[in-house]
C-alpha cells in the first residue's frame, strides 16, 4: 500500500522538522531570564499534525521529538519538564480543537500557556518548591504571546500544506 509508506515518510519529515525547530530554538537567545520562556517553534509542527493527521499522530511525534531533542540538546532533566509541559499543552489543545469553538490561534495560545503551566507544575514537583508559582504570571503572558505567534505560523502551514 503506497499510502502507508507515504505516511511514514511524511511523519519522518515532520519529526525531523520538529527537531530542527527545537535546535533552532537553542540558538535563539532568551530575552526574559525566566525558566520556561521560549518560542515553542516545534509546536507549529505539532499543531500542523493535529489539524491534518489527527491527535494520535500529533502526540506520537511530539513525544518522539522531546525524547530525541532531549538527548541531543537540552539534557535529560529538562526532558522531564518538556514532557510535563507538552502533555498538558496537547491535552488542552486537542480538547479545544474538538470543541470547534476556537481558531488555530486560540488553540495555540491555550497550548502555549498550558505548556508553561505544566512545566511549572513539574518544577514544583521535582524541585519540591512551590515558590515556582512566582513565575506563573510572567509565564502566562509569555505563553499568550508565543502561542499567538506560533498559532499564526501554524495557520499558514495548515493552509499551505493541505495537499499533503
Amino acid at each position: 500500500m503506497p499510502s502507508r509508506s507515504k505516511n511514514i515518510a511524511y511523519l519522518g519529515i515532520m519529526l525531523a522538522l520538529a527537531m530542527i525547530a527545537s535546535y533552532i530554538e537553542t540558538l535563539i537567545p532568551v530575552f526574559v531570564a525566566v525558566p520556561g520562556v521560549k518560542l515553542g517553534l516545534a509546536n507549529a509542527v505539532v499543531m500542523l499534525l493535529l489539524y491534518r493527521k489527527g491527535w494520535r499522530t500529533a502526540v506520537v511525534i511530539s513525544f518522539l521529538r522531546i525524547v530525541l531533542s532531549g538527548f541531543l540538546f537540552s539534557g535529560i532533566v529538562m526532558m522531564v519538564y518538556s514532557f510535563s509541559g507538552a502533555a498538558l499543552s496537547i491535552i488542552v489543545m486537542v480538547l479545544l480543537k474538538k470543541s470547534g469553538k476556537f481558531s488555530v490561534v486560540g488553540v495555540s495560545v491555550a497550548g502555549g500557556v498550558m505548556h508553561n503551566a505544566g512545566q511549572i507544575l513539574a518544577a514544583c514537583f521535582f524541585v519540591e518548591n512551590a515558590k515556582m508559582f512566582y513565575y506563573l504570571p510572567v509565564l502566562i503572558v509569555s505563553g499568550i504571546l508565543t502561542g499567538a505567534i506560533i498559532g499564526i505560523l501554524a495557520g499558514i502551514l495548515i493552509k499551505r500544506l493541505s495537499q499533503f
Binding site: V30, A33, V34, P35, S74, G75, V77, M78, Y81, G100, K101, F102, S103, V105, G106, V109, A110, V113, A123, F126, V127, E128, N129, K131, M132, Y134, Y135, L136, P137, V138, I140, V141, G143, I144, A148
Partner: protein
C-alpha cells in the same frame, strides 16, 4: 461549523481570561512582597545552606548535577556562574525580596529569600 465571528470572539475571550489571571497573579505578588531577611539554598528539595541577606557570601555550591556560584553582597543575591546548559540562573536578575527565588532547573537548585519585616501596609494599619 461555528460562525467565523464567534470563533474570533471566543479567541479574544480566551486571551482576556488568561491576561486577567496573569494580572491577578502580578497583583498578589506586588502586595505580598517586601524586603527579605534570609537566603536559603535548596538542592533537590533539601535545604542545604542558609545565610543572612546581610552576609557577604561568595561560594560555589556543588550539586549532583553541577555547580552554581552563589554570591550575596550588599543585600542582593545572584548566581555569578554555573555550568548548567541553559545558564538561566545566571541571567535571572538579582533578588532581595521575600519570596523571590532564583531557580536552576537542570541542577534542581533553588535559592530563595525568606523572612523579613512585615508588609508595609500591615505596619501602617497597626
Amino acid at each position: 461549523m461555528q460562525h467565523k465571528n464567534s470563533i474570533i470572539r471566543n479567541d479574544i475571550f480566551l486571551i482576556l481570561v488568561l491576561l486577567l489571571l496573569s494580572a491577578a497573579g502580578f497583583t498578589i505578588l506586588l502586595f505580598t512582597r517586601h524586603a527579605g531577611k534570609n537566603v536559603e539554598v535548596f538542592v533537590d528539595g533539601q535545604m542545604l545552606y542558609s545565610y543572612s541577606l546581610s552576609d557577604t557570601v561568595n561560594e560555589v555550591i556543588n550539586t549532583k548535577w553541577g555547580e552554581n556560584h552563589l554570591v550575596i553582597e550588599e543585600g542582593k543575591v545572584f548566581i555569578l556562574e554555573a555550568d548548567c546548559p541553559d545558564k538561566l540562573c545566571v541571567r535571572q536578575k538579582e533578588i532581595d525580596k521575600n519570596g523571590e527565588s532564583i531557580v536552576c532547573l537542570p541542577h534542581k537548585l533553588v535559592v530563595s529569600v525568606t523572612g523579613g519585616e512585615e508588609r508595609e501596609i500591615d505596619a501602617i494599619t497597626k
